[in-house]
Amino acid sequence: MVFVTVCLAFLLHRLMPHASLSLLFLTGVLIVSARTGLGPSLVASVLSFLAYNFFFTPPYYTLEIANDGDVATLLFFLLMAAITGNLAARMHAEIDMRRTSLQRISNLYEFSRRMSSAAGTEAVLEALADHLAWSTGRTVAVLVAAPGSLPAVRARAGRAASLHPADIEDAWSRDEPGPAVIHAWHFLKLAAHNEPVGMVAIQGQVDAEHIDLARSLCDQATVALDRTRLVADLEQARLVSETEQLRSALLSSVSHDLRTPLASIIGSTTSLLEYGDSFSTENRRDLLATVVAEAQRLDRHIQNLLDMTRLGQGKMTLRRDWVDLHDIVSSAVDRLRDALKGLPVIIDIADTVPLLWVHGVLIEQALVNLLDNAICFSPPDGRITITARAAAGRIEIDLCDDGPGIPENEREKIFDMFYTVRQGDRGSLQGTGLGLAICRGMVAAHGGNVTARDGRNGRGTCMRIVLPVTRPDGMDGE
């Protein structure tokens, strides 16, 4: 800088009066002081004076001081340099402080953002460990205590270091406001509702400022921990109430589905018993037929309930065997022969469909439930088609009806348990609200799925069962 000033001075000393050159050197000193600190500015001022003296004051090119005015100039130079250098140094210190505090604030902000968005306890603890380690530059461990037991390490950050259980126990048992210092570890308690819930351990020397910082981070973390705990509690409460709802839906469904056939059976039999003598033969036969049909219906309901319970408990054991799809379909249709009441069922199974390695009874039940639904929704002149074909690695079975169809937004809901029941006493048609849920459960047990789709030509509904083509385990390898 002094060199640049000397060069400039050489260029300019012909243009301006000799005394003004000292101003040029002063400017140079000012710039140097503003940029650096006290030391460099003093050096710059001495150098500037020497250069000024050497080049521009008579006698030229000597360091000799010719008159007293030059001594005054030297003093001014030094004074100026001291003042500005000092100012500049303070300014620099100020800027540095601002910068670190800005960083700390943004660090805190980032921390609180992570805290408030943390979804669970784990995320909160990890964020706490990270930020503590980052801001103190030490190894940090976060410990959490279950009620009635010692805290255990749940999150850590920094270099791997081991905490002795004895130290943890010691720190945990201490009841002092400040941090407990044991074997180069600083322990700080985490408290929620004035109850200690855990600790933060920081390794090595930590100054008071960092302790304060750690404490404020811990405070934020406990708030976040409280929040996540509340969220978890709420979730738990919601689950419980949902289970409760499901249970009461099950009860009312069971009571309804079992009692309705029973009502017919008891009504018919008591009628026969008490007034049978006055009935015509035809009416008597009619009532007896009702009893049989209703008893069978009751049996189906009970089977459904049993299936549902087994599916719900995950105890459905598959007894797989080779089965011909033709057999399953025809047996399902056969079981519902009475309910069909002459409704045509068109079966079309492609030749490419291989033998299935499934639990035949379950797949048949799934089909029966779908068919039962299709019958319920079919208009009197409708027809039902069952088609099956093999596609890449899987078999698709479509069961289509000419019914009213299912709106797009309900196509998933129908597989919910009791969906039809929720719509009133028994929905608009016969059904337990279990049938489709059971169907899906049984197909899912085979690794397949069931979906509702548009019917043929935009009419009615197609239910599609997709089953993967599987082989017995033994046949793959051997």
Binding site: R259, P261, A263, S264, I266, G267, D425, R426, G427, L429
Partner: protein, 232 residues
């Protein structure tokens, strides 16, 4: 087999239940109309003017409660409700909406027959509004405000008499707690069931009625009370 006469409308979505009701009721000489849906039932009610409606609470197209409310807008025909719902609240709601009695499914045919006879007879007598009620040894002369049990005069307080009159006027119907409280004490007291329990206790005591096997006032658990009327 005794024969009765009358027209009954059965509104029920279960074909099997309609079937045995029709066979049994027709064997008793009733004329039966059947409807599967609530809206058809309402239409049939208008065109055939039956003397009794047997209504299933769970209909495919409308709630049974709704059906009662709609029917009660223009008709006082007695209604017997059939329901698989065993919850008291449902029964109370149906009775408050204007149903006369209910039978819980599953039921034996003779139980329903007895209810039908009581309801039909009650409606008949209430319509003719006699000034003297006389049944099972209980004789109430409404003109003289005189009550006798087996010939012995019984002195009743004002409230006790009001309750007895209410039960007699509504014979053939189950009266819900709320209904009685409203009628005897006024709307402000309609949730104070203990008033009613005490009053019924007093009335039974004065009439010499045993709550365990009531002769006059029958408790319908969780729902209300009804007057025991002999079925013809």
């Amino acid at each position: 087999m005794n024969t009765a006469s009358g027209t009954i409308l059965v509104v029920e979505d279960e074909a099997q239940i309609r079937k045995f009701l029709r066979i049994s009721l027709e064997a008793h000489g009733y004329v039966i109309y059947e409807a599967r849906l609530g809206k058809d039932g309402l239409k049939l009610c208008e065109s055939t003017q039956p003397q009794l409606v047997i209504l299933d609470l769970g209909l495919p197209d409308m709630d049974g409660q709704q059906f009662i409310a709609r029917l009660r807008e223009w008709s006082q025909v007695p209604i017997i409700v059939l329901s698989v719902r065993s919850s008291e609240a449902q029964k109370v709601q149906a009775l408050d909406a204007g149903a006369n009695d209910y039978v819980t499914k599953p039921f034996g045919i003779s139980e329903l027959m007895a209810r039908i006879r009581v309801v039909l007879r009650g409606a008949e007598e209430a319509a003719s509004a006699p000034t003297v009620f006389d049944a099972r040894g209980l004789r109430v002369d409404m003109a003289l405000r005189e009550v006798r049990v087996d010939g012995t005069p019984v002195h009743l307080s004002k409230k006790e008499y009001a309750l007895l009159r209410l039960l007699i006027d509504s014979r053939g119907r189950v009266l819900t707690h709320q209904h009685i409280l409203r009628e005897v004490w006024g709307p402000a007291r309609q949730d104070e069931t203990h008033y009613l329990r005490v009053l019924v206790g007093q009335l039974r005591q004065k009439l010499g009625d045993d709550p365990a096997s009531p002769r006059f006032i029958v408790t319908v658990q969780g729902v209300g009370y009804r007057l025991a009327v002999p079925a013809r």
